[in-house]
Structures are given as structure tokens and as C-alpha cells.
């Protein structure tokens, strides 16, 4: 009657899928999802086979006895970056292996994990805007351009957060944000035609650059997950296209070249 003491197959498989999907949403690369899930499955003496695509996870668990297997697919929602969650889950997976946690304990622990944003919204807006003006300074902008860039980035990020809340298409949100940021800077250069504004214009949309999918795409390619790497790369291109479209709209409105 050994099987009774073990977790039921449904609980374990569903928990692993939940962890995998949390990791994918938080911005982990394919290899990390695979390693974490097989580590936890190994702690329960199960063999896990995974199929990971950009929007779905599929797992097949085989128990030691080879009699029981469990297969299920889970849809993964859009990416919402949260590195804190990745760090927490990674630390938890080691504890699960070392301390032989039960499935119930992992489930309660996962509810306790902080999935909310770690920083207050205003602080994020302020620091990202500061980062935008830092870029402007690094590219060679002067104080006035830095201030313009600060305002542009601040409002652009605000617009992106608000439009994400209204559940617009993600790429459309990026377009709105890029348009807002470049519109602010374009307005400034329209009102002061002799003032230099190219640095502010090119750096005001930098906060939208999809850095995480870009690096993940490359590391997936290197790990041999070519399909996932390509998918992420195409995603990066579409986001970059949305940014360019927003920038282009402002440039056309103010006739800047």
C-alpha cells in the first residue's frame, strides 16, 4: 500500500504545471522551467517529460511503478515580468528537494508567494523615468533634454499601465506608450525648433525595449530550444515594430526628420 502515502497523481501534476506557468509568465527561459520542474518531480521520485511552447505547457508524469502516468496541458497567459517570483520559486525548489515537502505544503507555500508588484506604482514610474533621462544623458543630451525625456517616459509608462488595465492588445499598448512618449518630446521640439531634441526623441521610447524576451530568445537558441527561441525572437520583432510605429506617428505629426 505504498501508493496511498504518495500524493495522488492529479495533485502533483497540476501543481507542477502551475509552477511552470508561473515561471513562464514571470519571464524565465525554457531551460529554467525544465530544470525546476524536473527537480521538483525528482523529489517525488517521478519522471517528468515536458513540452514547452510559448503559450502552453504539456507534462507527462511517470511514477516509479510505470503503472501510473499523468498527462495534462496548461495554457500560459501573457508575460508579466516578476523576477522576485522566479527567485522565490527557485529557492523553494531547492527546499522541496532538501526537506522533502509534501504537495499540500508546496500548495500553501505557493499561495503565500508574493505575486503582486513589489514596488509602489509611483516609485516605479519615477525610477523608470529617471532611467529614461539617464539614457538621454548617456547619449549626450543636456539638462533640458533630460527633463523632457523624464516627462515623456513617465507619461508613456503611465499610458502603458493604464491601457494594460483596460485589456487592450499588448502590442497596441506598446504602440500607445511609444506614441505618448515621442509625442511629448515632439511637442517640445515643435515649440522650440532651434533646440536640440534628437537625443530625447530616441531615448524616450527606450523603456519599452523588450530586453527580457530578447535575452531569453538568445539563451533559448543556445540551449537548443530553437523553436522557442525563434518564437520569442519574432515576439521581440513585433514589439520593436509597434515601438517604431508609435515613434513614426509622432514624427509624421510634427514633421520631424
Amino acid at each position: 500500500m505504498e501508493i496511498v502515502t504518495k500524493p495522488t497523481k492529479y495533485e502533483l501534476g497540476e501543481m507542477l504545471l502551475e509552477i511552470g506557468s508561473l515561471l513562464m509568465v514571470a519571464g524565465a527561459n525554457t531551460e529554467r522551467v525544465k530544470v525546476t520542474i524536473s527537480r521538483i518531480a525528482g523529489a517525488f521520485e517521478c519522471d517528468s517529460q515536458l513540452m514547452i511552447t510559448n503559450h502552453a505547457l504539456m507534462i507527462t508524469l511517470t511514477y516509479n511503478s510505470k503503472v501510473k502516468t499523468f498527462t495534462s496541458v496548461k495554457w500560459v497567459p501573457n508575460m508579466h515580468l516578476n523576477f522576485n517570483l522566479i527567485a522565490d520559486i527557485s529557492a523553494m525548489s531547492w527546499k522541496i528537494v532538501e526537506e522533502k515537502w509534501s504537495v499540500e505544503r508546496i500548495n500553501t507555500e505557493m499561495k503565500l508567494l508574493n505575486k503582486k508588484a513589489l514596488y509602489p506604482r509611483f516609485l516605479v514610474l519615477f525610477l523608470v523615468a529617471l532611467a529614461g533621462s539617464s539614457f538621454c544623458r548617456l547619449m549626450g543630451g543636456e539638462t533640458v533634454e533630460m527633463i523632457v525625456c523624464f516627462v515623456g517616459t513617465f507619461l508613456g509608462l503611465y499610458v502603458r499601465q493604464e491601457s494594460m488595465k483596460m485589456h487592450f492588445n499588448f502590442y497596441l499598448c506598446v504602440f500607445f506608450a511609444a506614441f505618448t512618449s515621442s509625442f511629448i518630446v515632439g511637442l517640445y521640439s515643435f515649440l522650440n525648433p532651434e533646440a536640440e531634441s534628437i537625443h530625447a526623441l530616441s531615448t524616450s521610447v527606450l523603456f519599452l525595449i523588450p530586453g527580457v524576451p530578447m535575452i531569453n530568445s538568445f539563451s533559448d537558441l543556445i540551449d537548443g530550444n530553437i523553436l522557442n527561441g525563434t518564437t520569442r525572437g519574432v515576439n521581440v520583432l513585433v514589439i520593436a515594430f509597434a515601438i517604431a510605429l508609435g515613434l513614426m506617428t509622432s514624427l509624421l505629426i510634427f514633421n520631424l526628420h
Binding site: 519571464g27 524565465a28 527561459n29 529554467r32 515580468l81 516578476n82 523576477f83 522576485n84 517570483l85 522566479i86 527567485a87 522565490d88 527557485s90 529557492a91 531547492w94 532538501e98 508588484a117 513589489l118 514596488y119 516609485l123 516605479v124 525610477l127 523608470v128 523615468a129 529617471l130 532611467a131 529614461g132 539617464s134 539614457f135 544623458r137 548617456l138 547619449m139 537625443h199 526623441l201 530616441s202 531615448t203 521610447v205 527606450l206 523603456f207 525595449i209 530586453g211 527580457v212 530578447m214 535575452i215 530568445s217 538568445f218 539563451s219 543556445i222 540551449d223 520593436a240 517604431a244 515613434l247 513614426m248 514624427l251 526628420h257
Partner: protein
């Protein structure tokens, strides 16, 4: 080499790194380290640029420094290396080149004069390729140190944890 200007760049690089770190929701304990790594990696890039090493090679060395430093920091602060590497990397993204390439493509659609078209095409392709290769070297610079260190770290962490018990 003007070291004061380099230091000023370092301060702004750190600010940019922390801004993106907050956007990516990193754990609070890592913020200080991210500021340091972003400043150091970017300063190395600007230092190499001042030695006229070439933009792509200097970016690659800056990104590699970030990659190795983030692996060290991952042990020190108990957080995955990418938590440190990604925010620190963002300040090096070639925004100006990408912007110029984009505006160049826009102008190309309207250009009719063959001579001006050739000159514009040359500039646009040059800017676009620079942006592409800088991005590739950024990704490679961070990904390769992680790949080198990965197998060792897993082995190294585990026995320590067992010994502590």
C-alpha cells in the same frame, strides 16, 4: 581618458539599471548590487570605446563582465543570475542606432533621387546592422558566462546545503 566623465557615466548607468530593475520587479535585496554591476559593465564599455577598440567588441566585453559579475552576485545574494544581468544590460541597448535606422527606412520610402537614395541606403543599412550586432553581442556576452558557470553552480550549491544541515 577623462576619469571624471567616466565616473559620471557610471552614476547614470547605475540609475538606468535600477530603473529597469524596478520595472522587472526584482527582489529588494538585489537593487544595490544591480546598481554596481550596471555601472561597472557600462563603464568598462565606455573605457574600451575610449581606447578605440570598436563599438561591438567593447559592448561584448561590457556584457561579459556583467554576465560573470551576475553569477558571483547570484551566490552572494541568493537569486538567479538573470535577475542581475538583465536590468544591468538594458542601459547598453543601442537605442540611437535603432532609431536612426528606423527613420532612415521611413525616409527611403519617400526618396526618389537615385544618388541621395544610395547614400541614405548606405547609412540606414549601416545603422541597422550596428544595432543588430550590438544586440547580438549583448545577448551573447550575458548568455555565454551563464552557460559556462551553470553546470558547476548546481553541483557546488548542493553539497554546501547538505553540509549545513
Amino acid at each position: 581618458m577623462d576619469y571624471l566623465a567616466l565616473l559620471e557615466k557610471g552614476i547614470w548607468l547605475g540609475c538606468a539599471g535600477v530603473g529597469f530593475a524596478v520595472l522587472f520587479n526584482v527582489p529588494r535585496r538585489t537593487l544595490g548590487v544591480i546598481y554596481l554591476i550596471a555601472a561597472l559593465g557600462g563603464m568598462l564599455k565606455f573605457y574600451f570605446l575610449s581606447l578605440e577598440v570598436g563599438l561591438i567588441l567593447s559592448t561584448l566585453s561590457g556584457a561579459s563582465l556583467i554576465g560573470f559579475a551576475s553569477i558571483l552576485a547570484a551566490h552572494y545574494r541568493k537569486s538567479p543570475p538573470m535577475t542581475f544581468a538583465l536590468p544591468a544590460l538594458i542601459p547598453m541597448i543601442p537605442g540611437l542606432y535603432a532609431y536612426k535606422a528606423m527613420v532612415g527606412i521611413m525616409k527611403l520610402t519617400a526618396e526618389k533621387d537615385p544618388v541621395a537614395y544610395g547614400k541614405l541606403f548606405f547609412e540606414t543599412v549601416n545603422n541597422g546592422l550596428s544595432a543588430l550586432f550590438i544586440i547580438l553581442s549583448l545577448a551573447a556576452g550575458v548568455a555565454i558566462p551563464m552557460l559556462i558557470a551553470r553546470k558547476e553552480t548546481v553541483k557546488r550549491i548542493k553539497p554546501e546545503l547538505v553540509l549545513e544541515k
